[in-house]
Symmetry: C2
Subunit: 727 residues, 2 copies
């Protein structure tokens, strides 16, 4: 093979065993020399550090999990790409966009927000309508039987209907759409942090979610509609943001502006807010929930659009409820959206009421953290049959309890106690709040209804640790601002108390489900490491004009999603980093098979062969696979010019950059790949790539177990409490 070919990136022999050893790094290309052997004149310290770098970093690969528990099933996960990809093809597209394009883009953005709002409101309305009709019918039949004295039959009807409904929900989620199980909020939170799983926002998930939600809530289980509605809102937003379906010819050229992860993230954030707004008719609370609980990135422009979305939800819901007032919706409105009964009272409170309120806050914090603890320890077991059994047992127990309660608690002033529960955001109802409230409230001059509100606020604060949004949701539910200071006090106390024990319920679930969630703050031990201490190999790089066979081999043998592109002499004075090319874009190139016979720069501008939307990001979970493309032997020997398709502005850090500051960059800018540059100019122009997985504590502490032995151990194990307080 001619030396010229060699320099063009014929990256060594294809490994017959198909391992993921790096041909480029170990033997192939001329510039990727072993950094430990590259120079003899450095001092001992530098050499020692380089050796350690080689041993600790490059020789190991990152073993953190590439799958996560989505709903009840295990899914492969993928990182999202919020970075602006600046390659020649996209740049030409941007230059071609005039004022009209921008106007269209803006108009579409608002139109999509409008649609998300309207559809989320409709979904919330359907869910409410379904629940009230199904549960109402069940209640009417049971009551009539009880009034007729036929308690046995009534219990049987109650039990069987509950059992059937629960089983329907469980079977749907276990066998049809596993991603629809659970509240869905951890999945939405992970998505907005940059972790995608194929099924979380599919149409199937959406339908099963709504039907399952109706069945589960109607079955008298203590589950709320809020979580499912957040997931539903996010689903609607994500489906609208896919840019239509080219399969069913339901697309339009304009929608291609939204075929990127940034715009989809914004839409899904608005969708999550719309879900809460639909669940509680609380538009401001919905915006704040999206901001406080689920989003990882926020801009004040997003505040405005989320507000518009939730305003649409409120308007549409109001119109639909007005429509239903004329008895067109069956039993809807008979049970009604259950509100607290403190609206009409003028509430007064004094300093003497503070001790019981503070007690309530502390109790709420303790109970909320206990709730999180048990959920963390008990709920997650493997196996579909186990889940069915669990659901069956829970529904029978709940039915018995509910049916028996009026007898047991007949001494209480109001036998329909549990019916008054707040439509809880979490799983356990805020019923406990009312019970606790009643117990304590009996010693106070305060209103019982107010105490129920405060009790539920305390529990929500203790479990979910959201202060501002829960506060606003409660205000919007009760329409009473005079108790604002008390609600705030209770929320702050319960959150503080609960934070001393464990993290909030969503963070626990996100961790438990194995999502590689990028925290917003930096762990203390990250300040002790540099990026070269965690970057793992083997690094796979391509030349600017690369042999097709080598690209195919690398794509087949690794799972990497981004590859540095390096220009070597004679195309540059010395080996220089040209940029970063994405796997998805390489696959588009390979599928087109627009190859060049030799490795000289192509006369034709290859980018002319492609339209920008050839490279548009497909919808969630859809992507090309290298195995689906066939190549002839001649094609494998040809070359492809990667320059026009390479992102020429990847974000970079020098290898001596502290891990903490690289984490700040990675998280704040919302990256998928971060290139690591060498400190010395004599080395290869790029020494590694950092991804989200490289910032995971399990990976870092696996590479550097000595960090456990130092004082950081203490800080780390006190982490959940500390980091919640500190950051």
């Amino acid at each position: 093979m001619a030396p010229r070919d060699q320099s063009c990136g014929d990256g060594g022999e294809v490994d017959p065993e198909g391992g993921i050893e790096a041909p480029l790094l170990s033997s192939g290309s001329s510039f990727f020399q072993d950094p430990a052997h590259e120079d003899g004149d450095g001092d001992e310290e530098a050499r020692r550090r380089r050796r350690r770098f080689l041993l600790a970093g490059r020789s190991q690969s990152n073993t953190t999990s590439q799958v996560a528990l989505v709903g009840v099933g295990v899914c492969p996960i993928e990182s999202l790409d919020y970075e602006l990809i600046e390659n020649e093809v996209f740049k030409q597209d941007w230059r071609a966009r005039g004022r009209g394009h921008i106007l269209r883009y803006v108009a579409l953005k608002w139109a999509l927000c409008f649609l998300v709002g309207v559809l989320s409101a409709a979904a919330g309305f359907v869910a409410n309508l379904g629940v009230e009709n199904v549960a109402g019918a069940k209640f009417v039949v049971t009551s009539n039987l009880m009034l007729a004295g036929r308690y046995g039959t009534a219990f049987a009807v109650f039990l069987v209907s509950n059992f059937a409904l629960t089983m329907l929900a469980t079977v749907l989620t276990v066998y049809v759409a596993p991603a629809a199980a659970g509240s869905g909020i951890p999945e939405v939170k992970a998505y907005l942090n940059g972790v995608d799983a194929p099924d979380i926002f599919s149409l199937k998930t959406l339908v099963v979610k709504i039907v399952g939600c109706i069945a589960a809530v109607s079955s008298s289980l203590h589950v709320g509609k809020a979580g499912p509605l957040v997931h539903t809102g996010a689903c609607i937003a994500s489906i609208l943001g896919q840019g239509g379906s080219s399969k069913y010819h339901l697309t339009c050229k304009w929608l291609r502006y939204f075929k990127n992860d940034r715009d989809r993230r914004d839409l899904v954030t608005c969708g999550a807010g719309a879900g809460i707004a639909a669940a509680f008719r609380a538009p401001v609370g919905g915006v704040l929930f999206a901001l406080e609980a689920v989003s990882s990135w926020w801009r004040s422009a997003l505040l405005w659009r989320a507000f518009f979305t939730t305003a649409m939800v409120a308007v549409v819901l109001r119109a639909l409820i007005d429509f239903c007032k004329s008895d067109k919706c069956g039993l809807f409105g008979k049970g009604g959206l259950i509100m607290f009964d403190v609206t009409s009272d003028y509430i007064t409170y004094h300093l003497v009421d503070l001790p019981p309120v503070i007690t309530l806050g502390v109790l709420g914090g303790v109970l909320g953290s206990l709730h999180n603890f048990f959920l963390d320890k008990l709920t997650f077991r493997k196996g579909q049959k186990y889940k069915l059994l669990l659901a069956a047992v829970v529904t029978i127990c709940t039915s018995c309890c509910l049916f028996g309660l009026p007898w047991i608690a007949s001494c209480k002033p109001c036998p329909s106690d549990t019916e008054e529960a707040c439509p809880s955001i979490g799983r356990s109802g805020a019923t406990y709040g009312r019970l606790v409230g009643m117990l304590i409230g009996s010693q106070s001059t305060l209103d019982h209804g107010l105490f129920a509100v405060l009790g539920s606020a305390a529990l929500l604060g203790g479990s979910m640790r959201m202060t501002v949004s829960v506060c606003v949701v409660i205000l919007e539910l009760t329409n009473n601002l005079l108790m604002l200071p008390l609600v705030m006090l209770v929320l702050l106390i319960s959150k503080t108390v609960a934070d001393a024990f464990n993290a909030n319920i969503y963070d626990l679930l996100v961790k438990l489900k194995g999502f590689p969630y990028l925290e917003g703050h930096v762990e203390p031990y990250m300040r002790q490491l540099s990026v070269s201490d965690v970057v793992t190999g083997p690094l796979q790089a391509f030349n600017g004009i690369e042999k097709v066979g080598h690209i195919v081999h690398v794509l087949r043998t690794t799972g990497h999603n981004g590859f540095p592109v390096v220009d070597e002499p004679p195309f540059s004075d010395s080996p220089v980093l040209f940029g970063l090319v994405l796997r998805a874009h390489l696959l588009v190139l390979l599928r087109k098979k627009d190859f060049i016979p030799n490795c000289s720069a192509s006369a034709l501008d290859a980018s002319k062969q492609f339209l920008p939307h050839d490279f548009a990001k497909p919808g969630s979970g859809k992507h090309d696979r290298i195995e689906e493309i066939e190549f002839s032997a001649e094609e494998l020997e040809m070359f492809v010019d990667l320059h026009p398709f390479t992102n020429t502005s990847p974000y970079t850090v020098v290898e001596t950059m502290s891990l903490a500051k690289a984490h700040v960059l990675f998280r704040e800018v919302g990256l998928r790949h971060l290139l690591v540059l060498p400190k010395s100019s004599k080395r290869a122009p790029v020494v590694g790539i950092l991804t989200r997985h490289d910032f995971m504590p399990e990976h870092i502490l696996g590479l550097h177990p000595f960090l456990f032995k130092t004082r950081w151990k203490k800080v780390r194990f006190g982490k959940s409490a500390f980091t919640n307080l500190v950051f």
Copy 2:
């Protein structure tokens, strides 16, 4: 001079004319060669690009303004440093910090938030108390005279007292504390974006602000308390965050944790929220105002702390008002905090009410943007006498109008019309809202009070363009959630309409005052440039072990605040970038005069001579000056080891990085300096430094006037409308 000395960074001869020509770049050090001449074998394209780079970039210096209008005076401005400075001294300090330190830090953080809340509430209370007593006394005297039929005397008293009060406020702000003039919100917004001006948060400013606010509001001028209270809250937060005063021995060792710009930024954000909370007794609205209107960086942890602060404001205000109910506060509570009178009504509205509401929104948008336009064009004139004259004319006119109004508008049902105005956030009262509301409302079935609320919302939305926070403030003021959808609708319409004309009032003022405000979005033309197209020279760099005389010369002849530190052979294999050292840290080093006789690595660890708090960031506006330090001739010939004091993890970009993406990094991470690395390894290890000024449109378009000629011109001139819609 020995070659060894040369390599140690004796950066050329000191320029006898004291110009700011770069000795390092042009003649001195061995590696800073002219990039245009460094290699002969590159292709023509590369050489042409480099020459352009040299011509367009490095040879010019950034001429954007280094001063801004603060209040009514001109001040030098300085960038804030939100980056984590990781040098050896600070690292040792972090390693020494255990669990106790973290606990103390957390406790202090919350204690400071508590204090900010309490003091802001007290300041708001004092302002209200002052206004109600002064204005009340004036009103009582005038009314009594009018009841006695002595209209002439009454008018004279009214006019003279208003004139005296206005002049008091004007003289105080013009001659005593110019930084206290105006609403203060633009200054707070600029500070939270990273621009500091020495006087904005001083104790003098705080006192003048409160007194001036009382005088101005009492003088019947149409000014609100909200802006001043936001500035007051920010002042209190900033003063508390200075870490005490070492001059008056009012400091404590613990407070040193807060001697950095990050923690101060968080505190000032909470303080701004506390100001709004104190002005309107609207805790949730205060948090949202801080989030939506003034802050440039936000984390959900900050949401919680800001909420705690505003909750404290609400609690303290309530306690103080309770205290005043027993007639201990003079006239306080007689006029009362003026609220809208819609609380008690149960408001119903139907589809037929939509057209007038929409009209109101559109009108509010048009009037709001007109208000911004006139404020932009008319208000800012130079000269102290002009300001005094303006104030005098305005107060006389206002007094005449107010006194005459009840006669002119006597046909209206309520002659005290203007007295009912909402305590406006902006300058013009929401009175117009009520007037417009009455005109339109007469054709509607809606409540007049409701229409007044909607009218003021429309104007605020049109002028300030804040939707969520104005909405929540209005809700908290009126304690009525049923009209939420209407308020939202009006706000969204008026904001959209007004955005089509110009930017919001605070952004206009920030620009007008000359603050180098970093926008949250990227201008389209930034995508067409790389960082090398805007980076300006001359670059000043130091060697790891540098001659004192050279450092002193560079510090005296340039105003740069950060300098790259480069290690050269024999200290490294090749010239490598070691990090970035700050001017402030260099001054601490030079003041200590712990120099070494020659340029070999010092045996003693120089960092041992310093405590971390020697390098703590001093309070706003306080900093060392090189002119204050005297050096002997021998000292100037000695050396200093910069390594332990150099930030070894500065953020970097490669010179080919697109300007748009560098802007994203700079803004999201909150940087002060961004180092530009060369693409080719044959060049000097650093080619420039980007600061906030390099991202200003006037600088970029000054360097690249051809951008005006392209299609981007169109987009740029439509910018105010577009960017507000797009982002």
